[in-house]
């Protein structure tokens, strides 16, 4: 009996908590317009860089906003709305888009992830790519290099460098520990450097590695 009473009071407490957190229709609209919609530009660009297709990107963003509206009561006002939305978008991409995608599934990703799935990273000096050559590169070269990375590596670079999320925010968006964020980012940038080194050599930019590498 005592047990029943306790659980009932707990239940009532939880229910009142949920009630309290429920937003009125007006509040929902205020949050949606004031905190969610301003991020549509970043959201669309993230979606486009994941899917490389305008229609798929539109669908993904639309689904994300509909989910955000449906689950708006689980959003805490005053917390980071952009990170919250990015997390929904990334989950939608993994759960829905990737499954029905017309594109062949990224076999390379699986290989890469199995091969690299550890937090231990080798840090090495890359003396053959110079900061000056990187700065001279064109936007298209940078974009192409980024787009050529496997989706998980691409994602951490987008979140960190293009969208300015912190390691902690990225860990929450991606559901991975901060140590993994750090090591994945490091590997992602190393892969990016390999691509950029290829462009630099191809374009005759100043690189210190003088060997003739024609495989690019």
């Amino acid at each position: 009996m005592l047990r029943y009473n306790l659980s009932q009071s707990l239940l009532l407490k939880l229910m009142s908590e949920v009630q309290r957190r429920k937003y009125s229709q007006e509040e929902k609209n205020t949050i949606f317009d004031g905190e969610f919609m301003p991020h549509i530009d970043s959201m669309y660009n993230f979606a486009y860089r994941l899917t490389f297709d305008e229609d798929d990107a539109k669908d993904l963003v639309q689904d994300t906003y509909l989910k955000a509206y449906r689950f708006i009561n689980s959003f805490e006002q005053g917390t980071n709305a952009k990170a919250w939305l990015f997390r929904i978008l990334k989950n939608s991409f993994i759960n829905e888009y990737r499954k029905k995608s017309k594109q062949p599934t990224k076999v390379d990703y699986q290989e890469v992830e199995t091969y690299y799935n550890s937090d231990d990273v080798d840090y090495q000096s890359t003396t053959d790519l110079r900061a000056e050559s990187v700065k001279d590169m064109l936007g298209d070269e940078i974009s192409n290099a980024l787009n050529s990375l496997a989706v998980d590596f691409r994602t951490v670079i987008i979140l960190c460098d293009l969208e300015g999320f912190t390691y902690e925010e990225m860990a929450k968006i991606l559901d991975i520990p901060i140590g993994t964020v750090r090591s994945r980012l490091h590997r992602a940038r190393n892969l990016l450097k390999d691509k950029l080194r290829g462009y630099a050599q191809n374009m005759g930019y100043n690189t210190e590695g003088e060997e003739e590498e024609a495989e690019f």
Binding site: I40, Y44, E54, L66, L162, R182, L185
Partner: protein, 90 residues
């Protein structure tokens, strides 16, 4: 964050702990500061050539990613279509 870019004359040419140094430099560039990190970093950049070069390369990569990546314009009808869909489910 402008670094002291004096001549490399007095910097050592080998880094004794590349893993630890580069990890620290990359974390700082990503805004993930540890206590006293900036002082350690400035010291390394002044004294160690591999750290100095790595820092500037990593900084350049972050900068071009931030400033040069082409942006996709958001389709003009997207916002309206989202609002319409929400009206429909209400």
């Amino acid at each position: 964050m402008e670094m002291n870019t004096e001549s490399a004359g007095e910097r050592k040419l080998q880094c004794s702990d590349v893993t630890k140094c580069f990890e620290l430099l990359e974390s700082i560039l990503d805004g993930d500061m540890i206590q006293g990190g900036k002082e350690i970093m400035n010291d390394k950049l002044a004294k160690c050539q591999p750290c100095f070069e790595h820092y500037h390369l990593e900084q350049a990569i972050r900068e071009v990613l931030k400033t040069k990546c082409t942006k996709q314009p958001v389709p003009s009808e997207l916002s309206d279509s989202i609002r319409q869909k929400i009206q429909d489910i209400l």
